[in-house]
Symmetry: C2
Subunit: 237 residues, 2 copies
DNA sequence: TCTATACGATACTGTGGAGTTCCGGATCTT
DNA sequence: AAGATCCGGAACTCCACAGTATCGTATAGA
């Protein structure tokens, strides 16, 4: 499900022999080279299994089977299940939220509404499933918590912060607003709705958040007219 | 750590012989009776282990040891680990959030601030740990999801809703406010902060939420914001 | 007192998964 | 071509834990 074939892979343990001075055997590697183009496929398989079964329900065999790889291959590249999962989560950054590609409609509400796309919702939902599968080990493995936070929540919060900051810069909202807190409202409440309430994070819910929480808290009047709800402002440019 | 010794215990499988008409053996039970006063201790031990290790890391032996009970005793009362945990979660309702005992200071801000007590924070933190430990199985076991939602989040949201509704009733805030959404802001963001960000949910954070998110969204001016920004429509009469 | 049962403690069984090892075949370097 | 290393696949070891069985002891009712 990961489309970005050139996804950057930061394998935690590279497992390559250290080039020790005076050790000629370490300088040139003979034999077949490791096919690193398969790393992303394996990590994607790990993410898929993780989302479906959670960390504890996931087995290395499941990942290997789904990636059409051998279990030994996985252990040649990652020293343990833990490190494989940490790597998989860390490598799932997705470019949907680059500041360059964010909407720019001229109003904060237009920008926020324009970010609601079926693709974006679906993507967020899958990330939430992964987060749920990781939850139990976050307290025991801080590296996992950091990886999850950096890959799943921070990018979305950063996008919201960017849009809000731009609204501040053009004078739409007051610079005294607590943007750092408010940009976390949507991710937090979407997570709660998905993981605990088990209700869908659909367009209506997100519009409710924007008009009932975010904009009022920023000193703007939410659009309370149901007839106008969901209308996206015409693209700027 | 559960002080309420009279905690109600809804054992899922009571395991008592059904009094079948015509079966004399089922009517009178001989021998030593089961000591049901120990049920709460066992469930409390299960909750403690659950919070510390998560569901998958928790073993029946850990619970038995902490409860100073034998493993067989646990299996005499609950048919499986799953049912024990469901029962433990369902029985953890705590009376700190009765509508009768909620603060009544005359203003919504006063009420919300008055709910910030060290005891309350500590209690919420432990519940969050339990929730994290359950996360991975919520999707697989709906009964668990319901038990967790009912015992952990719903009571707090209900308390917030009660305070906000009272503010509506006395005309402090507009009845058009989306109270059902706003009463979930604090629990959601506290959960995010605890479980993913791994920062403490302290008094400062909660005050920030109240003054930077909740009150502005309800059309009230937060305490820390000196500038009077966009005004929300006055209460409809 | 006698009997049936609960109790804590401990040993035991069965299963499932992490991690390892080996195999035949493929692919790279020299 | 030859040797080294990778590959997928499968068998293997090791261990932790759910659940069961059995012990001697304690306590309830008859």
């Amino acid at each position: 499900m990961i489309r970005n074939a050139e996804m950057e892979v930061n394998v935690v343990a590279q497992l390559e022999p250290v080039a020790v001075a005076g050790n000629p055997a370490a300088e040139t590697k003979l034999g077949r080279k490791r096919d690193h183009t398969r790393d992303p496929e394996i990590l994607a398989a790990a993410l898929a299994v993780l989302a479906e079964t959670g960390f504890d329900g996931m087995t290395i065999d499941m990942v290997a089977t789904r990636a059409k790889a051998g279990k030994a291959t996985l252990y040649r590249r990652w020293p343990s299940k833990n490190e494989l999962v940490i790597d998989a989560v860390a490598c799932m950054k997705q470019g949907d939220l680059d500041p360059d590609r964010l909407p720019d409609t001229g109003t904060l509400r237009g920008d926020l509404v324009a970010m609601i796309k079926p693709r974006s919702i679906e993507d967020a939902e899958k990330k939430m499933q992964i987060m749920a599968g990781l939850m139990s080990m976050l307290s025991a493995t801080p590296e996992m918590a950091d990886a999850a936070n950096n890959a799943i929540v921070k990018p979305r919060a950063a996008a919201n912060r960017f849009l809000m900051q731009r609204a501040v810069d053009r004078g739409e909202i007051s610079p005294t607003c607590d943007i750092d807190t408010l940009c976390l409202v949507t991710p937090s409440m979407a997570a709660y709705r998905t993981l605990i309430e088990r209700k869908p994070v659909d367009r209506d819910f997100l519009i409710t958040l924007i008009d009932g929480v975010l904009l009022p808290a920023l000193g703007l009047r939410g659009d309370t007219d149901p007839a106008r709800r969901g209308k996206v402002a015409p693209p700027a440019s």
